[in-house]
Protein backbone atom coordinates (compact mmCIF):
# COMPACT_ATOMS: atom_id res chain seq x y z
CA UNK A 1 0.00 0.00 0.00
CA UNK A 2 3.07 2.19 -0.25
CA UNK A 3 1.68 4.15 -3.18
CA UNK A 4 -1.58 4.83 -1.32
CA UNK A 5 -0.09 6.14 1.89
CA UNK A 6 0.44 9.86 1.67
CA UNK A 7 1.63 11.59 4.83
CA UNK A 8 0.48 15.10 5.62
CA UNK A 9 2.06 17.11 8.39
CA UNK A 10 1.34 20.55 9.76
CA UNK A 11 4.12 22.34 11.66
CA UNK A 12 4.43 26.11 12.12
CA UNK A 13 7.11 27.76 9.92
CA UNK A 14 8.68 29.47 12.90
CA UNK A 15 8.60 29.09 16.66
CA UNK A 16 9.93 30.69 19.83
CA UNK A 17 12.68 28.79 21.62
CA UNK A 18 11.35 26.92 24.64
CA UNK A 19 7.71 27.56 23.82
CA UNK A 20 5.46 24.59 23.06
CA UNK A 21 3.58 24.50 19.76
CA UNK A 22 1.20 22.12 18.08
CA UNK A 23 2.10 19.48 15.51
CA UNK A 24 -0.55 17.67 13.49
CA UNK A 25 0.02 14.60 11.36
CA UNK A 26 -2.23 12.55 9.13
CA UNK A 27 -1.42 9.66 6.83
CA UNK A 28 -3.78 7.96 4.43
CA UNK A 29 -3.96 4.26 5.26
CA UNK A 30 -6.88 1.87 5.38
CA UNK A 31 -5.81 0.43 8.79
CA UNK A 32 -7.39 -2.99 8.22
CA UNK A 33 -8.03 -4.10 11.81
CA UNK A 34 -8.00 -7.88 11.27
CA UNK A 35 -11.49 -8.11 12.78
CA UNK A 36 -13.49 -7.78 9.57
CA UNK A 37 -14.63 -10.61 7.34
CA UNK A 38 -14.95 -10.62 3.55
CA UNK A 39 -18.05 -11.68 1.60
CA UNK A 40 -17.13 -15.37 1.99
CA UNK A 41 -16.76 -15.13 5.76
CA UNK A 42 -12.96 -15.32 5.75
CA UNK A 43 -11.02 -13.05 8.07
CA UNK A 44 -9.36 -10.13 6.30
CA UNK A 45 -5.80 -10.16 7.67
CA UNK A 46 -4.60 -7.23 9.73
CA UNK A 47 -2.72 -4.55 7.81
CA UNK A 48 -2.06 -1.40 9.80
CA UNK A 49 0.59 1.14 10.57
CA UNK A 50 1.96 -0.12 13.88
CA UNK A 51 4.40 2.62 14.87
CA UNK A 52 4.81 6.35 14.45
CA UNK A 53 7.70 8.50 15.55
CA UNK A 54 8.46 12.21 15.45
CA UNK A 55 12.04 13.42 15.86
CA UNK A 56 13.70 16.83 15.71
CA UNK A 57 17.42 17.12 14.80
CA UNK A 58 17.87 13.49 15.86
CA UNK A 59 16.17 13.89 19.25
CA UNK A 60 12.84 12.23 19.93
CA UNK A 61 9.66 14.24 20.38
CA UNK A 62 7.30 11.34 20.71
CA UNK A 63 6.54 7.82 19.60
CA UNK A 64 3.19 6.14 19.20
CA UNK A 65 2.37 2.44 19.19
CA UNK A 66 -0.75 1.88 17.11
CA UNK A 67 -3.17 -1.03 17.38
CA UNK A 68 -6.09 -2.26 15.30
CA UNK A 69 -8.40 0.12 17.13
CA UNK A 70 -6.91 3.21 15.48
CA UNK A 71 -9.16 4.62 12.78
CA UNK A 72 -8.55 4.69 9.05
CA UNK A 73 -6.11 7.47 8.08
CA UNK A 74 -4.41 7.69 11.47
CA UNK A 75 -4.25 11.22 12.81
CA UNK A 76 -2.13 12.53 15.67
CA UNK A 77 -1.94 15.87 17.35
CA UNK A 78 0.66 16.65 19.98
CA UNK A 79 2.99 19.36 21.23
CA UNK A 80 6.70 19.91 20.75
CA UNK A 81 9.20 22.31 22.21
CA UNK A 82 12.54 23.18 20.56
CA UNK A 83 15.53 25.42 21.25
CA UNK A 84 17.06 25.87 17.78
CA UNK A 85 16.14 25.85 14.10
CA UNK A 86 16.16 22.48 12.40
CA UNK A 87 14.16 19.72 10.79
CA UNK A 88 11.35 17.56 12.04
CA UNK A 89 11.30 14.02 10.68
CA UNK A 90 8.20 11.89 10.83
CA UNK A 91 8.28 8.12 10.39
CA UNK A 92 5.43 5.67 9.99
CA UNK A 93 6.04 1.88 10.03
CA UNK A 94 3.62 -0.37 8.20
CA UNK A 95 2.81 -4.01 9.12
CA UNK A 96 4.05 -4.98 5.64
CA UNK A 97 7.51 -3.55 6.30
CA UNK A 98 7.07 -0.30 4.39
CA UNK A 99 8.32 2.89 5.99
CA UNK A 100 6.77 6.25 5.14
CA UNK A 101 8.59 9.45 6.01
CA UNK A 102 8.06 13.17 5.83
CA UNK A 103 10.08 16.12 7.07
CA UNK A 104 9.47 19.79 7.84
CA UNK A 105 11.88 22.64 8.46
CA UNK A 106 11.27 25.13 11.21
CA UNK A 107 13.04 28.36 12.14
CA UNK A 108 13.49 29.62 15.67
CA UNK A 109 13.61 33.37 15.75
Amino acid sequence: MAEDSKPRVRVPRSATAGEAFEVKTLISHKMESGQRKDADGNNIPRSIINHFSCDFNGENVMQVTLHGAISTNPYFQFEAVIQESGTFTFTWNDDNGSVYTDSKDITVG
Binding site: A20, S33, F56, G68
Partner: protein, 139 residues
Protein backbone atom coordinates in the same frame (compact mmCIF):
# COMPACT_ATOMS: atom_id res chain seq x y z
CA UNK B 1 -38.50 -29.20 9.04
CA UNK B 2 -40.60 -29.08 12.17
CA UNK B 3 -38.92 -27.58 15.24
CA UNK B 4 -39.40 -29.94 18.15
CA UNK B 5 -39.15 -29.02 21.79
CA UNK B 6 -35.87 -30.97 21.96
CA UNK B 7 -34.35 -28.99 19.06
CA UNK B 8 -35.26 -25.72 20.68
CA UNK B 9 -33.62 -26.75 23.95
CA UNK B 10 -30.42 -27.83 22.18
CA UNK B 11 -30.30 -24.55 20.28
CA UNK B 12 -30.80 -22.60 23.48
CA UNK B 13 -27.94 -24.45 25.17
CA UNK B 14 -25.72 -23.73 22.18
CA UNK B 15 -26.47 -20.01 22.28
CA UNK B 16 -25.77 -19.94 26.03
CA UNK B 17 -22.44 -21.70 25.54
CA UNK B 18 -21.41 -19.28 22.79
CA UNK B 19 -22.28 -16.18 24.79
CA UNK B 20 -20.70 -17.43 28.03
CA UNK B 21 -17.47 -18.85 26.61
CA UNK B 22 -15.68 -15.75 25.26
CA UNK B 23 -15.98 -13.89 28.57
CA UNK B 24 -13.09 -15.53 30.47
CA UNK B 25 -10.75 -15.29 27.47
CA UNK B 26 -11.59 -11.60 26.98
CA UNK B 27 -10.94 -10.84 30.64
CA UNK B 28 -7.55 -12.51 30.25
CA UNK B 29 -6.58 -10.37 27.26
CA UNK B 30 -7.75 -7.26 29.09
CA UNK B 31 -5.62 -7.95 32.18
CA UNK B 32 -2.61 -8.97 30.11
CA UNK B 33 -2.78 -5.78 28.03
CA UNK B 34 -2.87 -3.57 31.10
CA UNK B 35 -0.20 -5.54 32.95
CA UNK B 36 2.09 -5.23 29.92
CA UNK B 37 1.87 -1.45 30.22
CA UNK B 38 1.82 -0.94 34.00
CA UNK B 39 4.66 -3.44 34.67
CA UNK B 40 3.48 -3.90 38.23
CA UNK B 41 3.49 -0.18 39.11
CA UNK B 42 1.12 1.08 41.77
CA UNK B 43 -2.13 2.24 40.18
CA UNK B 44 -3.73 5.41 41.52
CA UNK B 45 -6.79 7.27 40.31
CA UNK B 46 -6.14 10.68 38.76
CA UNK B 47 -3.05 12.35 37.35
CA UNK B 48 -4.37 11.86 33.85
CA UNK B 49 -7.15 13.31 31.77
CA UNK B 50 -8.95 11.47 29.00
CA UNK B 51 -11.29 13.42 26.75
CA UNK B 52 -13.77 11.52 24.62
CA UNK B 53 -17.27 12.34 23.40
CA UNK B 54 -20.12 11.22 25.66
CA UNK B 55 -21.99 9.98 22.61
CA UNK B 56 -20.15 8.90 19.47
CA UNK B 57 -22.40 8.53 16.46
CA UNK B 58 -19.88 6.52 14.50
CA UNK B 59 -17.70 3.98 16.29
CA UNK B 60 -15.25 4.02 13.38
CA UNK B 61 -13.80 7.40 14.24
CA UNK B 62 -14.07 8.43 17.86
CA UNK B 63 -11.82 11.41 18.66
CA UNK B 64 -9.91 10.94 21.91
CA UNK B 65 -7.25 13.00 23.61
CA UNK B 66 -5.15 12.28 26.66
CA UNK B 67 -3.05 14.50 28.85
CA UNK B 68 -0.93 13.62 31.89
CA UNK B 69 1.59 16.27 32.98
CA UNK B 70 4.97 14.69 33.74
CA UNK B 71 4.16 11.25 32.36
CA UNK B 72 6.66 9.25 30.31
CA UNK B 73 3.99 7.23 28.52
CA UNK B 74 0.21 7.08 28.19
CA UNK B 75 -1.79 4.07 27.04
CA UNK B 76 -5.49 3.84 26.20
CA UNK B 77 -7.54 0.64 26.45
CA UNK B 78 -11.10 -0.10 25.32
CA UNK B 79 -13.03 -2.47 27.57
CA UNK B 80 -15.49 -3.67 24.95
CA UNK B 81 -13.24 -4.07 21.90
CA UNK B 82 -12.17 -7.52 20.64
CA UNK B 83 -8.58 -6.38 21.26
CA UNK B 84 -8.38 -4.00 24.23
CA UNK B 85 -5.22 -2.17 23.11
CA UNK B 86 -5.95 1.17 21.43
CA UNK B 87 -2.86 3.34 21.44
CA UNK B 88 0.29 4.08 23.42
CA UNK B 89 2.08 7.43 23.40
CA UNK B 90 5.72 7.59 24.53
CA UNK B 91 7.07 11.07 25.15
CA UNK B 92 10.62 12.06 24.27
CA UNK B 93 12.75 14.92 25.62
CA UNK B 94 11.31 17.42 23.09
CA UNK B 95 7.63 16.80 23.84
CA UNK B 96 6.04 20.17 24.59
CA UNK B 97 3.36 18.61 26.78
CA UNK B 98 2.55 15.07 27.80
CA UNK B 99 -0.57 15.01 25.70
CA UNK B 100 -1.79 13.60 22.43
CA UNK B 101 -4.93 13.28 20.33
CA UNK B 102 -6.01 10.68 17.82
CA UNK B 103 -9.10 8.90 16.49
CA UNK B 104 -10.03 5.36 17.43
CA UNK B 105 -12.52 2.61 16.68
CA UNK B 106 -14.94 1.38 19.31
CA UNK B 107 -16.98 -1.80 18.88
CA UNK B 108 -19.87 -0.47 20.94
CA UNK B 109 -20.92 1.45 24.02
CA UNK B 110 -18.22 0.88 26.61
CA UNK B 111 -15.68 2.29 29.05
CA UNK B 112 -12.37 3.70 27.85
CA UNK B 113 -9.47 3.46 30.28
CA UNK B 114 -6.31 5.57 30.16
CA UNK B 115 -3.17 4.81 32.12
CA UNK B 116 -0.24 7.20 32.55
CA UNK B 117 3.20 5.94 33.46
CA UNK B 118 5.09 8.38 35.70
CA UNK B 119 8.92 8.60 35.85
CA UNK B 120 8.89 6.89 39.29
CA UNK B 121 6.99 3.89 37.90
CA UNK B 122 3.63 4.71 39.47
CA UNK B 123 0.55 4.65 37.27
CA UNK B 124 -2.26 7.19 36.96
CA UNK B 125 -5.63 5.90 35.83
CA UNK B 126 -8.88 7.33 34.59
CA UNK B 127 -12.00 5.94 32.93
CA UNK B 128 -14.54 7.53 30.59
CA UNK B 129 -17.72 5.96 29.31
CA UNK B 130 -18.62 6.43 25.64
CA UNK B 131 -21.99 5.66 24.07
CA UNK B 132 -21.59 4.38 20.52
CA UNK B 133 -24.52 4.46 18.11
CA UNK B 134 -22.88 2.48 15.26
CA UNK B 135 -20.09 0.06 16.18
CA UNK B 136 -16.72 0.26 14.47
CA UNK B 137 -15.65 -3.34 14.06
CA UNK B 138 -17.35 -4.23 10.80
CA UNK B 139 -19.79 -6.49 12.63
Amino acid sequence: MQLTRRDTLIMGAGVAAVTLLPLPSLAGAWEDAIAAFTEGGEIMDGGIELTAPEIAENGNTVPISVSAPGAVAIAVFAEGNPNPDVVEFQFGPLAGAQSGSTRCRLAGTQNLHAYAKMPDGSIGHTVVSVKVTIGGCGG
